[in-house]
Symmetry: C2
């Protein structure tokens, strides 16, 4: 952000920025509005000054037609759709337009995304399971566009406020539920190990088993990526032998549906032969056969929190960054029962 020597010297005017960057006021204006006709080198120099001097943007078109940008991983997944719907409800009440973009497979936006954002001058950006490079973050900062993350995967950046849910508690709740039903043979299929949410859920699983004095079997901790395919494949691997678990905690509802398929392929009945707990509580969980016991992630409340943070950060860019975790709860349905019940 600021170079150490520069510090914060109050907010600069347009003409001060132009002088500091050795360009015309028109050029600063072009950079601010994301217009073409400015070389990459000049744009970087102007943005560095904007960043450094915390330029105080005047009200522009966006104050009469305010926008918020949502960058979402897998927008047509049940998780992405639920998060977008949660944000939409809040923006609708506030009279704000919600611009939605999907990410590429890498959780990063398309390279041209930042150009559109700078032109649209939104009040803020909300990331849903999406990631931004430091270069893109710097550009957003230089345009005074705050970024808030929902449920970040991977270690949250220290300079981006985020809204998460209590992942460790969720993992603990799911596993404790199975133990209370009488299961001691409980396996887990995890999410990607570079996502903090996965690690926290796994850690909650371990803690619940520890608390019950049940040893953890390494071969029953299977890696996954929240996807249907890994639920199916790891489900088959876990359930194929005689020495199999009586319960599986999957780290997403979609992954749990993959476990359902694996059980069906092996002729195992849920919940008689196998209890399954999912994670997320998407609409598909209650439609699954049997209706799925799962951990409820309060996406609607998380979206509301994220929007509140964006609004506050837009008004007070100096607001201390922070993290909020919303509580998770267990929703018991028909996919869990006592072992052999």
């Amino acid at each position: 952000m600021s170079t150490p020597a520069a510090g914060r010297r109050g907010r600069a005017t347009l003409s001060e920025v132009a002088t500091l960057a050795s360009v015309s006021i028109a050029t600063v204006s072009k950079v601010l509005n994301g217009r073409s006709g400015v070389s990459e080198e000049t744009r970087s120099r102007v943005e560095a000054v904007l960043n450094d001097r915390n330029y105080n943007r005047r009200a522009t078109a966006q104050s009469t037609a305010p926008l918020v940008e949502v960058l979402c991983f897998e927008i047509d997944s049940p998780f992405g759709a639920a998060a977008i719907a949660g944000i939409e409800r809040v923006t609708r009440e506030q009279g704000i337009g919600m611009v939605v973009n999907g990410t590429l497979d890498s959780h990063q936006p398309h390279p041209s995304w930042i150009e559109g954002v700078v032109r649209r001058q939104p009040a803020g950006v909300i990331l849903v399971a999406a990631q931004l490079s430091e270069k893109v973050r710097t550009r957003l900062r230089s345009h005074n566009i705050p970024v808030v993350m929902i449920d970040p995967y991977g270690a949250p950046s220290t300079d981006a406020p985020s809204v998460g849910s209590a992942d460790w508690n969720g993992g603990y709740l799911a596993t404790s539920h199975l133990i209370e039903l009488g299961h001691s043979r409980v396996a887990i299929i995890t999410g990607p190990d570079d996502m903090l949410a996965s690690t926290a859920r796994l850690s909650g699983y371990r803690a619940a088993l520890d608390a019950a004095g049940i040893p953890i079997r390494r071969e029953w901790v299977k890696p996954g990526k929240f996807h249907h395919d890994d639920g199916y494949e790891q489900g088959l691997a876990l359930l194929s032998g005689d020495d199999r678990p009586t319960a599986i905690f999957a780290s997403s509802d979609i992954q749990a549906l993959g476990v359902y398929d694996a059980a069906r392929a092996l002729g195992l009945d849920i919940p008689r032969d196998l209890s399954v707990v999912g994670y997320d509580d998407l609409a598909i969980a209650k439609w699954a056969g049997p209706a799925m016991t799962t951990v409820h992630v309060p996406l609607a409340e998380m979206a509301e929190q994220a929007m509140q943070l964006v609004t506050r950060l837009h008004d007070e860019p100096e607001l201390a960054y922070r993290r909020v975790d919303m509580a998770t709860t267990l929703v018991a349905r028909d996919s869990t029962a006592a072992p052999g019940a």
Copy 2:
């Protein structure tokens, strides 16, 4: 649109509109930009003149940061999410921002929606299973904002171009598939009867049975609303007696999942005791247990067509309105088999 006497006299300038509406140029500008400070009566008068004289809006902010508005029924439903994802892919390629709004339960937007749209000045509006009142349509026309509908439910408005899919063919394909497998006891659960898509699918069902010389049993045509609940309830009603169908064609994948639940509740195996065909081919269809045979609705292609239409209509507002139907196809999976197989 135009009053008969007025006709088309070429496009008016801002000052001509002001003179005709007996207001200042500043007032016309406020109306064009959706700003406050104009009475409802004055706004209506100015918009009537804009409509009548086909005012030629100059390039504004939106030409450098173009937007398209998507108004979608049930944005967190699998269908809504798939449509939004299809539109997003096209807008991303074209460097256009996609603003997403959900509808109220009535398929209509929130009353304040139109104010936001007028302020944002999008290149166009795409409706996904959503409806607009004539009053709202008139306001959009007066601001030169074209409207395109995706898969309209109910009779398509004669003055709104729309992109649909071949619903009659879909119903015919689904039913023919069951007949070819050897079923003659084929029931249907329909969508809402005020939606043209439902009527066309039902009509395709009837035509396929007729073509095979199979009489239609009225008690096997059950009304539904594309929802899980009606799939479950009508499924139970159809399957509870001894004189039950061996196959059910559900008018949506979600509804078909409700039929799955009904079959499970009655101890019937799919496909051994009952074949089920869904409609839409959402991601959840292939994850269902068993993987669902369904009619594929080409949402990605429909979204692309809708965006092309919006772009063309924005450039050529006089373009003759038209309807495009994209082909549906049958995707055979594991929920259908010969009766008693």
